[in-house]
Point group: C2
């Protein structure tokens, strides 16, 4: 197993000068929140929570474990999230916000659809490799096979997140449609199914073992391009089109 | 959510005639085991266990839940499996036995490598759609991000299962290599990475939402061929080759 990266609080810099030595850890963490490091702390919670959800699955994950990984007290996390369902929702919403913002930007460019699709594919594959815990969490949420053991509130949150993820995936399908209209992909096919297969291929790293992923982290952009090439070719692009798109 | 298929014991046929009405359920189930329905009961346990593992994740799954889904007593399952780790191992080993036996048969045929690769790809994709719970369980095991909370025995079992799954995946990579040697796929590439991407594309249905999967169950072979086509084209097959392979 490769050594895991852990986010630990920056113990060397308490938010306020401490005349009689450093305050106990609990006090220091509250001081950090009061000191306006709110956004950064939220980000750290979300990263740790995605890791715990990805490793343990939602059902077995707990806020305790998230706090432990952060080296923070449980209360600090409960201060923001009343339940792990809320925490899961925030992890996924934050992730989907960032993914969707970037994908919208790429899809909105004034370029041929095939060029935007290629960029979008490489972007998504790179994100999966780079933020594997987030993407495993998103995958778990959107493929929940049953709602057993879930409250109504959780079921509603899962439905809303699934709809958002499907809207994100639909951007790929729309780009495939546009590329077909522009004759850079074959026309007249069921692109709803093709879109699902396309995004599934880009999600391949979800199942790679941890050693493979850490080994590939530094070659992230290269592997992302390779995944994009496979998917664009799989979707039917000609070798001339591939040559044009991947020689940029 | 679509209605879930549940395996319930065939209550209408107790193993032995019951002169004074049917025995209580517990007694009937033991009677079934004594009556030699061992293999069939094991299969039912494995199906139910794969469903529970896939829905809840390993960490949150319990033998209790498996027994409940089977409408059997906990003791009946513990009679065979001392821990859920053993149960997970049996689910995965049984699944990998069946997958590997069939894949070996396809890979060993006297046909061009590209033909065997096409058949192997369609077979695997069909299995993923048809036995989604097993495949989600296998995917969870082989992509375990950390061994936290796992005993040494469980960690060893996970390592052994991961190795078996990698051996299964390696059959695809070997077929890609052979197809490249036979000039039906481009030569001179890093086929280790390509193999990972190839199998990842075929695993796409792992993340499809339950509605999509149940909607597609009856079109399983068609979708499996579509996934295989995408993957074979993604891997670099020419349109002439694709035409030959997919017009059979």
């Amino acid at each position: 197993m490769p050594e895991r990266k852990r986010q630990t609080p920056d113990k060397g810099r308490p938010a306020n000068p401490a005349p009689r030595g450093r305050p106990p850890r609990r006090e220091r963490n509250f001081a950090a929140i009061r000191g306006g490091e709110d956004t950064e702390f939220r980000r750290r919670i979300l990263i740790a929570a995605a890791e715990i959800f990805a490793e343990r699955g939602f059902a077995a994950a707990s806020i305790d474990e998230v706090a432990k990984r952060l080296d923070a007290t449980k209360g600090l996390v409960y201060h923001r999230y009343r339940s792990k369902g809320e925490l899961l929702t925030d992890v996924c919403e934050d992730g989907l916000d960032r993914l969707t913002a970037r994908l919208d930007e790429i899809a909105g460019r004034r370029e041929p659809a095939i060029t935007r699709l290629t960029e979008a594919a490489a972007f998504h594959a790179g994100q999966v490799i780079g933020e594997i815990a987030l993407h495993r969490t998103l995958a778990e949420v959107t493929s929940f096979a049953a709602s057993s053991g879930r409250s109504d509130e959780e079921a509603r949150a899962v439905a809303a997140l699934t709809a958002r993820r499907q809207a994100y995936d639909a951007i790929f399908t729309a780009l495939i449609d546009d590329a077909a209209d522009q004759r850079d992909l074959p026309a007249g096919r069921d692109t709803r199914m093709l879109g699902r297969i396309f995004i599934g291929a880009l999600d391949a790293p979800l199942h790679w073992p941890p050693e493979t992923l850490s080994e590939l982290a530094e070659k992230r952009d290269l592997i992302a391009r390779q995944l994009a090439y496979f998917a664009i070719r799989g979707a039917g692009a000609s070798d001339a089109t591939l040559m044009a798109e991947f020689s940029r």
